[in-house]
Amino acid sequence: MPAETIAQSLKKSGVSRRDFLKLSGALAVAMGLTKIPPDLAGGVPIKVGRGYSINQTIAKALETKTRLPVIWLEFQDCAGCSEAITRSNSPTLGNLVLNTLTIEYHETLSAAAGFQVEQAKQDAMQKYAGQYILVVEGSIPVADEGIYCTIGGRTAVDILMEAAAGAAAIIATGNCSSFGGLPKADPNPTDAKGVWELITDKPIVNIPGCPAIPEATTGTIAHFAIFGTLPELDGLHRPKTFYGVTVHDRCLRRPFYDAGKFALSFDDEGAKKGYCLYKLGCKGPTTYNACASIRWDTGLSFPVQSGHPCLGCSEPDFWDGGGFYQGQSAPLDRPELAAVGAAAAAGAAIGIGAALINQGKKKAKGGEK
């Protein structure tokens, strides 16, 4: 089956040439490409003439490349990221990526179940060894030898390691598989970990978010499908295309922030007027994600637009980063009155001690005089 090129597969499903070229352009936009990635020459076995535009390059790639096998693993997750992908209302990307990929294994989406599907996975891993993309959703518990998440009697760690061994690249989708997410929240009973904490010898892309923005996941997969390489990543292994700027930077409420107009509660005049939600605890300024530009449901809206402060769900440990509705500049712990009192008492005690000693010094010197 994968012998068929992506273009051929699309044509079969009724996509016209004109639509195909439009798709190529849309794809380039989705991947945030304005020029051909620098590592293209080495990484992609396609011949591109000088002066080809990026759209033409992508169209060319789609015409020549075969479909990409994908294995999708789920561990400590809520399947929310999968949900998001399937709800992706962007037919261009959804169809293009999902229809043109061969998803060999996906617990939630696969029609097969039980031993059958496990067998299918084993077969795929052998058949496409070294070629397939491994997508991971959900965190991996390592406490107590990983017993807190088992599938078919095998631990998540075990399954992950096995699947990772033959993967060309690993894409961790969602905050859980990227940074541990909700399962890792304090006190982290299962010692949940992100993929990159366990695997260091494979190219790994993190697409954090709760859930991950589907276009970010599909765009990254498409990038690999088309160019054979991973997009440029930041320090947290996130594609710079989607995680290069903060939610705050692109926020539609940003002018209100700059003007110092804030909503002070969820139902006040400011909230009705669409003022900035910073004082309601918005984490936009420290949250790197594309919510404000790509948005959700075909660009319909995103949390801040709909009136809720950003929770910072694409950042590590966002669950433990202070109250969701507490201003971001506020200190994380407010010292209790007792602690302040104790500190004051300690200071006073030392102060009185010092004063007594100094009074003694004064008297002694006075006596000598």
Binding site: D258, K279, G322, G347, A354, A355, L356, Q359
Partner: protein, 225 residues
Amino acid sequence: MNWNSVLEFARGPFFYAALLIFVAGMIYRLVSVIGLGWSKDHVPAKGSKTGGVVISFLKGILIWPFIPWVKNTFSRNPLIYIGGGLFHLGLFVVIFLGAAHMLAWKSLLGFGWATLPLPIVDWLAAVGIVGMLILLINRIINPVLKLISGPAEYLAWLFVFLPMITGYALTHHLGPRYEVMYSFHMISVDVLLIWIPLSRISHFIFYFFSRAIHGQEFGKRGVKA
């Protein structure tokens, strides 16, 4: 290194500890000074001491010292007036009327207040930073300041300057990423909090003593403080 965890440390336990050290340190300073004893003044006053204190504070807190012609000293060393004035103005506005700082106060005190629009706060922050630079330059070039400045003075300057410059970079997304700058900002604030009781930055407490004494002494003698 994950800067978000650095930030969490700087906003969390480090800040917590720094705040308690600050409280303990300042109380210690106050108590140890007051505990040195105050002798009673038996001299009959000519004018009103209370009146003198009131004038002294009005003069000190309001703009009196900054009106150039009042003291005839403005022309001698204008930099120190301008730098010092701008710095304190910027500092107070930013610390108390900046939205972000108000939220920090709110989380500590339990109540908040109205804040100024960001562009105004922003300009005043820049003014404060410029004021600090002027003060530093003045400290380096003025012969008196050169003489009386040691490592303590320059360190105090640095520890006040760092939170200001990192805070400014932070709001403008200059330099490294937001959380990195934010970490720098919080760490420098924590260091400052610990440094205040050990240094002359604590003058904001003793100011009230010296101003009151000044007012008393001059009020007692029937002289306009």
